[in-house]
Symmetry: C2
Subunit: 280 residues, 2 copies
């Protein structure tokens, strides 16, 4: 039987396989310089960190930092940062609490200043799209990576508190703050869905995309674009497969990647695999 860490890895692999996931790498689509096999290597490389997330002696932040270090050991760049930020607390909850929204809340609530420091160190391994932080948080800019660690310690912020400060503009931080609402919603949709697991993942991705503006798009292209993509996702869903395929091509051409929505889908896949024993 697969361990929770292995189900998390499998969730990453099934997520990138599901197609069409408009704008993202999937079984049928690559992006320039970012290809399917980079996601395979990223998922495999993340395994050591994910296994660490099962060990209550290791900090959630350390498990996350190690998963990112391993994920980044391929030439495509940042493949699964947000997905791992979603998965690590869920894997920990599986090990020490239970895999429920309450269990995840307990894990988040238990994070420390050390976890926050490790979270910043994770940014040393990747280039992440992040907007400018509010002025009073300049010294906490995630793009500073480990250089921001002294400021984190000085302010005495736990990882949970840090996430709260970004929850209004980062889709994964929002999940950390509200008990992974959309992740568990995705899991229910996947578990109740029909057909092969990657197809359920793709359908769930499109549903999530049609309901809230993708924050990765918002950071890169602005809120207007993120909102317009949401509306177009709804139209594509209503229009059927051909419209979805055309929507996918159009996002790829425009270089618009709903990355946060993919991260939530990976989280939902993990819960469906681990909690509901949905089988590939």
């Amino acid at each position: 039987m697969r361990t929770p860490a292995q189900n998390a890895e499998l969730a990453l692999l099934v997520e990138v396989t599901g197609t069409p996931k408009p704008g993202n790498v999937d079984r049928k689509h690559d992006l320039p310089g970012l290809r399917f096999e980079h996601f395979l290597a990223g998922a495999v490389g993340a395994q050591n960190g994910l296994r660490m997330a099962l060990d209550p002696e290791r900090g959630v932040g350390t498990a996350f930092e190690r998963s990112i270090e391993g994920m980044a050991d391929q030439s495509g760049g940042n493949t699964q940062f947000g997905a791992l930020l979603t998965l690590v607390p869920l894997v920990r909850a599986t090990a020490t609490e239970e895999l429920t929204r309450d269990g995840a809340r307990t894990v988040v609530g238990g994070t420390t200043v050390d976890d926050a420091a490790e979270f910043y160190r994770a940014f040393d391994h990747v280039e992440v799209r992040a907007g400018d932080p509010p002025e009073e948080m300049d010294d906490l800019d995630v793009r500073r990576g480990s250089e921001a660690v002294p400021a984190v310690r000085e302010r005495g912020l736990t990882l949970a508190e840090l996430m709260e400060k970004s929850a209004d503009r980062d889709g994964i931080a929002q999940e950390w703050t509200n008990g992974f609402e959309r992740t568990f919603q995705a899991a229910d949709l996947i578990a109740d869905g029909d057909g092969p697991l990657p197809d359920r993942a793709a359908a769930t991705f499109l549903y999530l995309l049609s309901r809230e503006p993708d924050q990765h798009i918002a950071k890169k292209h602005g809120n207007g674009t993120a909102r317009s993509v949401m509306v177009r996702a709804q139209e594509a869903r209503e229009g059927g497969p051909e419209l979805v395929e055309a929507f996918a091509e159009s996002l790829l051409r425009a270089g618009i990647n709903p990355g946060t929505t993919a991260d939530l889908t990976a989280g939902g896949l993990y819960v469906a695999l681990e909690r509901d024993r949905i089988e590939p």
Copy 2:
């Protein structure tokens, strides 16, 4: 950095991604009831056994049996039996000898009767296509699985000796017996190739298929079919991409899967990833 066990897992994932690999599941093709995601789950599930292959305290046979048990924990059936039979001794050679043909020979030469017994136990987890053994080996029919273990012990056969007995009709047993000749040939082709790693894997697969009759096809459809597929693979290679695609469709329609050739390609990918540090 990925461990050898992780590179072996990544080799399985890249192998199934490379397309077109005529007749087999790949990034663009599924088979009835055997889909891409089954190979993803098979690769992830094999990880525990592959990690065991790194531990000199564990038998090669045990590592193999565990990798098969984990691989089989998905609903598609036998996805990577032959590939793991190729990979496990190579991972062991990486850990205790060196990743060369001589290193692999040393590992094979060091196998015991216990390893042979575990090899038979592995067959309990899967349905494997195997021909009738010669009459004097009836009690060693691999399809008997663990029921054959007493006969294995009575005869005092090591795993290497068992493989020798099948080398003339099983492509992986042949590799075990000759120091993994075609696996290392595949590795050189992959390492010297151009373009994305899955593309190199697909090209190497087609080359191998065009050079020797695939033993999996021979077992299922007879030597004549295996030989004809070899000739057609050569014609397709010479004819270019369109002919290769047509050849792929034709094998899929006929239910002809060159499984042994895929196994050797996975082995070659592992050597290229681990020895040559070819990056995805």
